[in-house]
């Protein structure tokens, strides 16, 4: 198992149509046999992991059955969200249980934030070389 993995910044036209490369991490999320592979934005400025609505649904989330998260805000004020814990796989590292704020918004990327992605992984951003390094804690 590699101690560290290095990923390039990538241009993700779907979520960042300005064409600027950003630290998007290829991940696999799974829940009870359902698997979603996607690019997730590694965002040290986000307090919490965020899951867009469509991804949560694909993972079998049932909105009314998930616990409400009170006090999550974005640029437009309070955002309605539910807590959803799923399995995260990065490379061949051990599976990590990761809690997400599952939102009603579909037009957002998966966001990996301080709680709790950054508790499980050390991240080093190297903007000058358009790369970021990940270490499993």
């Amino acid at each position: 198992m590699a101690d560290k993995l290095v990923f390039p910044y990538v241009i993700n036209q779907r979520y960042a149509p300005d064409g600027r490369a950003r630290p998007f991490l290829p991940i696999s999320l799974s829940n009870r046999g359902r698997v979603v592979q996607t690019l997730a934005l590694v965002d040290s400025g986000a307090d919490m992991n965020v899951l867009p609505h469509d991804v949560g649904s694909q993972l079998g989330g049932i909105w009314d059955e998930q616990q409400e998260i009170v006090g999550l805000s974005g640029i437009a004020g309070e955002v309605e969200s539910r807590a959803f814990v799923v399995d995260l796989a990065v490379g061949n590292w051990p599976i990590t249980n990761l809690g997400f704020a599952w939102t009603r918004e579909a037009d957002v990327p998966v966001v990996l934030g301080q709680i709790s992605f950054f508790s499980h992984f050390k991240v080093c951003f190297m903007r000058s070389s358009q790369q970021f390094e990940l270490e499993y804690v």
Binding site: D18, M48, V50, V70, S73, G74, V79, N97, G99, A101
Partner: protein
């Protein structure tokens, strides 16, 4: 940078006046959103700011999930 005097003045307002100021600023920010450069993308959940309550809810559920697994 916001002048200290402006903040002091805002602090002197009564509750109703403070709400009026919030509504005014909200309208101003909504107008600004239309002026964003072409190609800019604004997500409602970005930047993601969570209260202590939100954080403790998520942490607790992660622990429960780990224990049940």
């Amino acid at each position: 940078m916001i002048a200290r005097s402006l903040l002091d003045e805002l602090q002197q307002l009564n509750r109703e006046e403070k709400i009026q100021v919030i509504q005014f600023l909200n309208d101003e920010l909504s107008d600004d959103a239309d002026k964003l450069p072409k190609g800019a993308h604004v997500f409602k959940t970005w930047p993601t700011i969570a209260s202590e309550e939100a954080i403790s809810t998520l942490k607790r559920l992660e622990e429960e999930f780990k224990d049940s697994g």
